[in-house]
């Protein structure tokens, strides 16, 4: 509480290819994933990963184009990252390649798809109407999610 000295507030910026190496080092050294923050800034979507161990933080930022953001998923290392990645996918439209436990857009239910990212090129009128078919989609997603859960497990 006294003059917050959370060590290491620096956020290093890497490309999407440097991300997996950084995350793998953190996993080996025993850091926990704290939070994944997404932000829309100047026509880019930036995703910030915050790792924590002891009193230290280790942060990395990846900048992606807002029209078509894609990034590799880290759920094969940190299984519980699926919570953050699904939410960022539902709100910002970022596609995480290799996401285990993919809810297919039904994790964070909003009236409009990707409300935080209006620049997304893929938002179509059909996608906006999909909350009428919520019941059927959940049923079909059950099959999809349970298959992935059996394959992938909890990381």
């Amino acid at each position: 509480m006294t003059g917050q000295t959370e060590k290491n507030q620096n956020i290093t910026t890497l490309g999407a290819d440097g991300l997996l190496g950084f995350v793998q080092e953190r996993k080996i050294e025993g850091w926990r994933l704290g939070v994944m923050i997404a932000n829309l800034a100047d026509e880019n979507v930036e995703v910030i990963y915050v790792f924590e161990k002891g009193n230290n933080l280790s942060n990395v930022r990846v900048v992606l184009p807002a029209e078509d953001p894609g990034i590799p998923s880290i759920t094969f290392l940190y299984g519980y990252a699926f919570v953050y990645e699904n939410e960022i996918h539902d709100l910002f439209g970022v596609v995480f390649e290799g996401l285990q436990l993919d809810f297919g857009g039904n994790y964070f239910v909003t009236a409009e798809k990707t409300p935080w990212n209006p620049l997304l090129a893929r938002v179509s009128p059909e996608a906006l109407q999909s909350d009428d078919e919520m019941g059927d989609e959940t049923g079909s997603d059950t099959g999809q999610v349970s298959e992935k859960a059996e394959e992938g497990g909890e990381g």
């Binding site: 006294t2 959370e6 507030q9 915050v50 994790y107 909890e154 990381g155």
Partner: protein
């Protein structure tokens, strides 16, 4: 293979404090898996930074949740104070500690009542909430509000508490302790309560670490994890703080952790009231936040992150609040797999869900 049915649980359910939706896949009475979905209470509060200047944003962030309200206000103020490099006076730190721990007492008493309600023990629920009224009256007398306090601001606090009121607070808390002990004995030792809680939702220490659990969920499984242990919180370390850890990993252990934290918080408040120094409670603040800063606070439910990004203007660029329930959802989904249908309310409540915090 037996036939599977899918039952929707929530968002409206009598036992849930806040709306969350779960699709439970059942075989007879056993839950095979649970698929969560949230978004029923998303108010887009983080987007309000574009419309509210950063000093007034405290009142928006406080209203993310009614139970964790003081923690949110304090976490946001810590994040902006770190951003601008402000040091608050020592009396303000002590008062923030007192109110934060009183908030923890309130939150755990509320949770104990809801837990009793989830397995149908309504008279225990009502008696626990009667004790909570004493704590709410203390809040009203010191901060001016029962649920939303509006007492934190960037640079310190908005109002001070005089010595008579602090003495009254100490007296009332001392009177409260034997009444809580009477009800705590029911939670810990009663056989009917134990048969609903013991052995339900077991999480081993490795599973808790692999699932990213925080707060009492992790401490109930044997992980010694608490934000208040770090050197920056020297006040806690000076007052002799030690986290409460249990090793059994089931719902009963998580209940015992929270009850022990209740008594520990009351001791911390009384120790802080003895040692509080005199002085100012706020410092003047000039300028605007310009950097990014991440602050962490130990909420009653676990570790919370507060990220703020400023650009030298009156309006911030981005804030992000990551609350502990968000990190405990994988642990909840894991404990639900393989549970009985009648235990589902207990397992949801055992992580102390605050869904309005999760969705902001």
């Amino acid at each position: 293979m037996a036939k599977r049915t899918v039952i929707p649980f929530g968002p409206q359910h009598p036992v849930l404090p806040e709306p969350v939706h779960l699709d439970l896949v059942l075989e007879d009475e056993t839950v095979v898996e649970a698929i969560p979905s949230i978004g029923y209470i998303h108010r887009g509060l983080e987007k309000l930074v574009e419309k509210r200047e950063w000093p007034e944003m405290v009142s928006v962030i406080e209203r993310i949740c009614g139970i964790c309200s003081f923690g949110h206000g304090m976490g946001y103020c810590l994040s902006i104070e770190g951003n601008m490099g402000i040091q608050i006076p020592e009396r303000a730190e002590y008062l923030r500690l007192i109110w934060h721990e009183l908030g923890r007492v309130h939150s755990h008493l509320l949770w104990l009542g809801l837990l009793a309600d989830s397995f149908g023990f309504e008279s225990l629920y009502m008696h626990t909430w009667k004790l909570r009224e004493t704590v709410l009256d203390l809040f009203e007398r010191t901060t001016g509000g029962r649920v939303i306090f509006s007492v934190c601001k960037v640079g310190g606090l908005r109002r001070d508490v005089d010595a008579d009121t602090l003495a009254l607070m100490e007296r009332k808390l001392t009177e409260l302790v034997p009444e809580i002990e009477e009800l705590a004995k029911v939670f810990i030792e009663d056989s009917s309560v134990g048969s609903r809680l013991k052995g339900v939702g077991v999480l081993t220490a490795e599973e808790a670490a692999a699932l990213g659990a925080v707060g009492p969920v992790a401490r109930g499984s044997g992980l010694r994890m608490d934000v208040r242990l770090e050197e920056k919180d020297r006040l806690y370390v000076d007052l002799g703080f030690e986290p409460c850890v249990e090793t059994a990993g089931d719902s009963h252990a998580r209940c015992v952790v929270r009850i022990r934290e209740l008594f520990q918080s009351i001791e911390l408040i009384k120790a802080a009231i003895q040692r509080i120094p005199d002085g100012e409670v706020s410092v003047p603040v000039k300028g605007n936040p310009e950097r990014e800063y991440i602050a962490r606070v130990e909420q009653p439910r676990g570790e919370a992150y507060y990220y703020s990004k400023g650009a030298g203007e009156k309006f911030l660029k981005r804030i992000r609040v990551r609350t502990p329930t968000n990190a405990n959802i994988p642990a909840m989904v894991k404990t639900l797999a393989g549970a009985q249908l009648a235990d589902v309310p207990i397992l949801i409540l055992t992580i102390d869900p605050c869904i309005s915090c999760t969705e902001r």
